[in-house]
Symmetry: C2
Subunit: 220 residues, 2 copies
DNA sequence: CCTCTAATGTGAGATATCTCCTAGTTACAT
DNA sequence: ATGTAACTAGGAGATATCTCACATTAGAGG
């Protein structure tokens, strides 16, 4: 992970009125490499992260040691927002998929300068509220779609530079399907040239996958 | 709908520090009867509602006139929270299932006294954040369960005094299944004495349904 | 470098669910 | 009171998905 001061990094100014130059002066740009941990389960959160670029996955380690993917993170998402507003108490693993760029604001700065700032509180309420609505809509639609459409969307979400290489036992759990059926569906997508096998993962044809998803939407 | 001043209603004090007696003096207790509208689609929200008792359903009217159930509301839920934090701009139908009791705070009061109050903003951020986590966990689990378990849980959620009488074409959409399969599953539950047909709806055996759900959880 | 575990990959039979259809009943509007 | 639309109910065939099993490969740890 590379750590830089915000000025050093010459960030494009963010359009957040609650982020004063004083706060930014004490914040950092973090750059994580592929598979690097942003947060480790059970550790204390030290920063509130604004994702500037890249992707990550959030993983919960269950009591039996099993790792379960909870969700994927994209640019313009926050990491640690639910912890900051006390909606959740325990941190979960957050792992970079490909390279991940974050603006990291130290928690003491958040607590001292932002946590009672109505501008910030309003922003984070709106953000979490919009996230809730998006998630509900996504799940509601997803539950009527057969697996190949949901897999197509996941491949687009998760691929970096057109290449997908997640752990498929975890992906099967995440999509709520059996490992067997997931593999069956990967094979179907290969046969229909939406994806190509490459090493342990797949190159994806994003444009064709988008067409498939669109076709699937029209069925309902 | 019955409308009372809060004092008139002699409400048990709510444990919300941001609700001063001055605010409560200008708020109301609303009591809606079964199938009464709390909010109508597209109308301007006039109150932020704290649900004290009862149940409701949130319905979105699609462009083609079709009504789709988005979610169900229980005691201790808020109605209008996502609108108040500007996460959503348009109101949707909210309809009482059985009798519904709400503390209703006028929007002008919310805007004048609460919307810049860090106590209130913190509360509503935490509330929406917890709601997001619950919803995500619920959907994640739900997608691996076959219909009879999900239907069992819905019956418990929705029944009033042990009686279920929702519109089943809308319930099929909500559960993401076909009308045919939903009816097939109702028949199975009847045959196994989890529910009994009564008029256009069903009496439910809540204890037995909970046993079924528990058994279903143990399969995964 | 070797060994062991976890991930990948596939076959085969069973089941949950879908699609298409028809018939009967109820509630609402005129 | 009547007619119509929407809801309830179920049959039958097809398909998406599950379950159980086994074989191969790759990666991690010693």
């Amino acid at each position: 992970m590379k750590k830089m001061n915000v000025q050093e990094a010459q960030l494009t100014p963010l359009t957040y009125p609650f982020l004063s130059s004083s706060i930014l002066a004490r914040s950092y740009l973090f750059i994580y490499e592929k598979n690097e941990y942003v947060i480790r389960t059970g550790t204390q959160l030290d920063f509130l992260f604004f994702v500037l670029a890249g992707k990550a996955r959030i993983i919960n380690t269950e009591a039996n040691g099993k790792n379960v993917i909870l969700q994927f993170i994209q640019a313009e998402d926050l990491i640690g927002d639910l912890y900051v507003v006390n909606a959740e108490k325990h941190t979960k693993d957050v792992v970079a998929i490909g390279q991940l760029h974050c603006l990291a604001i130290p928690l003491p700065i958040v607590k001292q300068h932002l946590i009672n700032d109505p501008l910030f509180l309003t922003f984070i309420s709106t953000y979490i509220g919009q996230k809730l609505l998006k998630r509900m809509e996504h799940f509601s639609l997803a539950q009527t779609f057969e697996l190949k459409y949901r897999l197509a969307e996941l491949l687009i979400t998760v691929a970096v530079d057109g290449y997908y290489s997640e752990n498929n036992t975890q992906i099967a759990d995440y999509l709520g399907t059996s490992y067997r059926h997931l593999m069956h569906t990967f094979k179907k997508l290969r046969e229909q040239n939406y994806i190509k096998k490459q090493g342990r993962g797949y190159m994806i044809d994003e444009a064709k996958l988008i067409q498939l998803i669109t076709a699937g939407s029209k069925l309902s």
